[in-house]
């Protein structure tokens, strides 16, 4: 594999994304909503002044996720910490997923719609280099956006919970694992699936709609966490990450194996 070719293709795609205002504003909007808007909203709601104690029923187990020094906080404050530190945490994975999906879905079908695909297929890049370049182009901004947003989210959470908790407490170990271990896995899942879809459909809209289904993975994690069925503790997160990386590997290998210049050209 010629890495210069792979980097050139990825670099060109990233340059195009940077100049695509719609894509940039979609990413910025989603990032702002999830990393700034949501924690601000939750933090500013009057939960912090809520009841001192109460029965949470099946959600009682969630209180175990709180660090030991927060077990004595009033129930309302505990709820704020839980929501920002645990419930919303999986939602944060939407950022790498959506960024990867936006860039990945554009990859081949976007070139086809802009009538630049034929020129790309006439380059000496092999099928594998073309595919790898497109995957890299989606993965890099997704992972960077994930890390950047996680840092912003951490700052905002600590700011809004400062009056309640009285110290910097975020990120917790599980949320850190979520960001640095599960986040890139989700980014790769988004990009591997969306690039593969992008080679098989005729319009960007189709690609985007199909890759949008990946959001169900995040929804499943949130429902599991919110209902107390799947507590995202450190061991669970390590396993979820491992499963996602395995799925990524399968999808990337499958995508590269079924990618064919001939088929792509014949469809265009």
């Amino acid at each position: 594999m010629n890495w210069r070719t792979v980097r050139a293709i990825a670099g060109k795609d990233l340059l195009e994304v940077r100049k695509n205002r719609i894509a940039i504003w979609s990413i910025v909007g989603l990032s702002f909503f999830l990393s700034v808007g949501m924690p601000l909203l939750i933090g500013l709601l009057p939960f912090g002044t809520g009841p001192e104690s109460g029965d949470l029923g099946p959600l009682e187990a969630l209180l175990d996720l709180l660090p030991p020094e927060m077990q004595d906080l009033p129930l309302g404050s505990q709820m704020v910490v839980l929501m920002l530190g645990s419930f919303l945490a999986p939602l944060f994975l939407m950022i790498p997923l959506m960024v990867a999906a936006i860039v990945g879905a554009e990859s081949f079908v976007g070139e086809k719609e802009r009538r630049t695909l034929e020129g790309l297929l006439y380059t000496p890049a092999t099928d594998l280099e073309l595919y790898a370049g497109k995957v890299l182009a989606g993965a890099v901004p997704a992972v960077v956006a994930a890390f950047l947003n996680f840092a912003i989210y951490a700052v905002v959470v600590n700011l809004v919970t400062g009056p309640i908790v009285g110290r910097v407490w975020f990120p917790t170990v599980p949320t850190l694992a979520l960001a640095v271990w599960v986040g890139p896995a989700v980014a790769l899942l988004g990009v591997s699936a969306s690039v593969m879809v992008s080679t098989r459909v005729d319009t960007f809209l189709e690609a985007n709609q199909l890759t949008g289904l990946l959001a169900l993975v995040i929804v499943a994690l949130m429902v599991g966490q919110g209902s107390g069925l799947l507590l995202l503790s450190l061991p669970v997160l390590l396993l979820v990450g491992l499963a996602l990386y395995a799925a990524d590997l399968v999808l990337i290998r499958l995508g590269a194996a079924i990618f064919s210049r001939d088929r792509l050209m014949a469809r265009s």
């Binding site: 010629n2 210069r4 070719t5 980097r7 050139a8 293709i9 670099g11 060109k12 340059l15 195009e16 100049k19 695509n20 802009r114 009538r115 630049t116 695909l117 034929e118 020129g119 790309l120 297929l121 006439y122 380059t123 000496p124 890049a125 092999t126 210049r261 001939d262 050209m265 014949a266």
Partner: protein, 308 residues
């Protein structure tokens, strides 16, 4: 030396046979024209030769390589101008060329120099750093041509290079093709433009419904397909009925056109033409000039398409 050799290439898309048992050779340094109406199979043939499509049957050698197994090498040594310019409109002209240089493996220290040279050669240097989306069609086409040359290829496939260009820009492209031939490069030119093909191509291949129905120089094709070319006579004074009558009785000769001082004859061979000229002069015609008018590629092309 042979630059391209195709043996029985065929490719179908579903029920449509886009290229059907096509065989031909292109010599190194030759400008070879591929002619045919839309859907004749010209673009598919280029895609097969560049290793972008795989043939159902048949084989080819391009620059001594098999495009099916060595497609990457073939594409690395050839340049393709696609039917649409296929330039990245969000990027600048310079970025488009730099990307092409990178992906075609131009040595890194040479990229900037090569890019600047091509921008200057194609008169794009003044707008080199503007997004291509704002360029006219002619500018995009020039940029696409520059991109096809960025890696200094030995072989060029030009698919409708003057489509949509104004006469000045078309002339520039024609000059470029001649310059490429002078540099010893091989050029395969797909075109609808018969005058262009006639002016630029050493030989042409005519495609119809995926089949190569004729191959050769324009002269060879006209000799094979059409009756002997007409003989045009120019007189000092308007042509008289006596001259027309004298010419008309020469065996095998017929008057095709009579206009003021000009007479065009159909003569089966040079001997009949000489007899007709003698008869015209004998009848009092004061001859100024006489000569055969070669068939145009257009006449050959339509004769072929009708036959197909």
């Amino acid at each position: 030396m042979t630059a391209i050799r195709a043996d029985g290439l065929a490719r179908s898309f579903g029920p449509v046979r886009a290229v059907d048992s096509v065989s031909f050779q292109v010599e190194t340094g030759e400008v070879f024209g591929l002619l045919g109406p839309n859907g004749a199979g010209k673009t598919t043939l280029i895609r097969l030769l560049a290793g972008v499509l795989v043939p159902d049957t048949g084989s080819s050698r391009v620059l001594g390589l098999d495009p099916v197994t060595d497609g990457s090498l073939v594409r690395g040594r050839s340049g393709v101008l696609t039917e649409t310019p296929a330039v990245y409109e969000r990027l600048t002209a310079r970025q488009n060329l730099a990307f092409a240089a990178d992906v075609f493996g131009v040595p890194l220290p040479e990229v900037a120099c090569r890019t600047n040279d091509l921008l200057a050669r194609f008169a794009l240097q003044d707008r080199a750093d503007e997004p291509v989306g704002g360029f006219s069609k002619g500018m995009k086409q020039r940029l696409a041509l520059a991109r096809a040359l960025v890696h200094d290829p030995e072989l060029l496939f030009l698919d409708e290079p003057t489509a949509g260009l104004d006469p000045a820009a078309s002339r520039q492209v024609h000059d470029l093709v001649r310059a490429l031939r002078d540099e010893g490069r091989t050029v395969v030119l797909c075109t609808h433009h018969l005058v262009e093909a006639e002016a630029l191509c050493d030989r042409v291949g005519v495609l119809a419904k995926g089949r190569l129905i004729a191959l050769g120089t324009v002269r060879e094709l006209s000799d094979r397909l059409l009756a002997a070319s007409p003989v045009a006579l120019e007189f000092l004074a308007p042509v008289t009925d006596e001259v027309v009558g004298a010419v008309g009785v020469v065996p095998g000769v017929a008057v095709v056109e009579r206009a003021d001082r000009r007479l065009v004859l159909a003569a089966p061979d040079d001997a009949a033409a000489a007899d007709a000229i003698g008869a015209a002069v004998g009848a009092g015609g004061r001859l100024v000039a006489a000569g055969r008018r070669e068939h145009t590629l257009e006449e050959v092309y339509f004769a072929l398409q009708e036959a197909a």
